[in-house]
Symmetry: none
Subunit: 194 residues, 4 copies
């Protein structure tokens, strides 16, 4: 039986190699070496190089979604929920920079696959934000003239751009926590009813 362990080792290796070299510059042989398996073994677990990226994306985003959901469910205040989302994303960056790097790259790759996935997994992730915004609006905490569908993208985009900065600039002036606070602050002031 194909071991789940080996599948996972390959995914971990792929994250590392893709983050390091980018998808197209990464060679199957690099991933195999990093995972400690033979080149051919990878094809017992994945259909092709692209399938590794796809599986990686699917599996990891699932984990992220369930993690952030768990955190948000602990909160009742939409303001604190938004803060929790931001902290979770930037902490993820801190703890698993390579994964965030790969996800960033992937989301800009102009390939039909992404265009498909954006409509499912990724949307599920950022829809968490729009749900929170909607809740806030219902509770009259957030302005009702803001479209949640725009707010979610603006909020995620803001966090993601900070992430990009840290990926490229390993010794930033501000800490992830500080940045999360600031971005929350801008958005909460911006969203809140006065």
């Amino acid at each position: 039986m194909k071991s789940a362990d080996k599948h996972d080792k390959i995914i971990r290796a792929a994250i590392k190699v893709f983050a390091d070299k980018g998808f197209f510059n990464a060679r199957i042989a690099d991933i195999a070496k990093e995972a400690g398996v033979a080149d051919g073994t990878i094809y017992l677990y994945f259909n092709n190089k692209y399938d590794i990226l796809l599986s990686l994306f699917e599996e990891e985003i699932d984990k992220i979604i369930s993690e952030v959901r768990k955190l948000i469910d602990k909160e009742t205040d939409p303001e604190r929920m938004l803060a929790a989302f931001a902290h979770h994303y930037l902490n993820l960056l801190r703890d698993n920079k390579e994964l965030v790097e790969v996800l960033q790259m992937e989301l800009r790759q102009s390939t039909s696959f992404i265009k498909e996935y954006r409509k499912t997994k990724f949307v599920e992730y950022i829809d968490i934000i729009s749900e929170i915004v909607r809740q806030g609006q219902q509770r009259e905490q957030f302005r009702k003239d803001v479209l949640p569908g725009i707010a979610k993208r603006a909020y995620f985009g803001a966090l993601d751009e900070m992430a990009r900065h840290w990926i490229l600039q390993p010794n930033p002036r501000y800490s992830p926590g500080e940045a999360a606070e600031q971005i929350c602050s801008i958005f909460l002031y911006g969203l809140k009813t006065k």
Copy 2:
């Protein structure tokens, strides 16, 4: 004499092909065909495939910067300046979607070249935002507890994520103008002193 016209034709073709297929999937032959020149001709104007991307980035971002600067110089109110920036970026997307698509890809490509350029040309572009924020703070229009260096990334990230949405979703629910207004609104409420 090598014509500037041909240089330009190749750049235009490259934008189209890179946007369509991505840098790595684009073949030199595709660009040559699109530009209506022979494969070898490309090498009279560019050192290699990568150099096309680099030149494209350099030249186009220069144009964008000078355009947006011109628009902002017409305004005196920082609030209107931020709005002008947003409208400019999203209009650029509307008018030259392929260029924005290529720039987005490029900025996530994990290559040493980008890591270099982020520090120069791109920073010059988004620093326009932090300058505006700083002005707003001096005029006591914007909150002083917001770090301009974080605000600039948040603002650009928000716009860029909207751009990404439109690139992938050609028939959006909201118009560029509408989205620009909304994002401005969130940030201005978020930034403004009360």
Copy 3:
């Protein structure tokens, strides 16, 4: 495991193809076809086209050196040693014309590699001649006013030029043995009537 057998098959094929077309006109595909392997397989055994030539040179000249050494060690008389050297070289030509052809080409190729190798492997080969001359001088068989360093080049050059003749003129008037005898004779006894 990469088989030594395949390495050898490629070297044999390369000798044939290089001899036939010359290094620069030889295509990797030609060598691959001749060796009965795929183009890519060659790159499992050699770094690049040039590396094939280099390896070929290194390996074959090593064999030649050890062969001729063995022959010379059987002799005690420097005169017979010189004869043995000549016969060995011209027999090599008879039995492996293509190899000699490649070595000839290689030794004239104006590349930095040859300029390097001349100083090592090839020098080791022709120094066999100067050692013999020196022995002959010590034994008072050879004139002492002849510089062994010049004699070695003259002797090898004479043989090599004969080789060149046979490579280009497949049906020569004289046999290799005959030519070897004559060249030996000229060198040993001189041209002048006594």
Copy 4:
């Protein structure tokens, strides 16, 4: 009218570039630049790249033959004639190293053209040696058991190998004159003690 001057400038440039890089690594553009003409101009004087090499060979060897003939005609003694030949060749090397370098390369290139030319121009050159040997034999100065056809190759080969040495080793232990004397001496008197 095509100027003979330009034809010559191109030949001079080709000798330099071929000597420097070898025929196959030399680019037409290199020769054009060295000659101070446009790339296209070369094709007004030569049919193709190969034709430059061919013309060069033909023209230069003609000059060499007439030069050495003139020198030999001054002598009556075959021994002195042989010496004159050797000195001429090694002086040529001293004065026009690049030309000798190109001729050496050319004579080993395994191309049908050379196989053709060996039979005409080059043979004419080294036949000068066999003629001298024959004269020496008629005058009973040289041993009659030596085949002039072998002696000519041995003599030229010896000189040529010295030339090769100097091309690669620019600061040799012996001067051209010294080497010419030695090689003459070996051939004329033989190696054996008498």
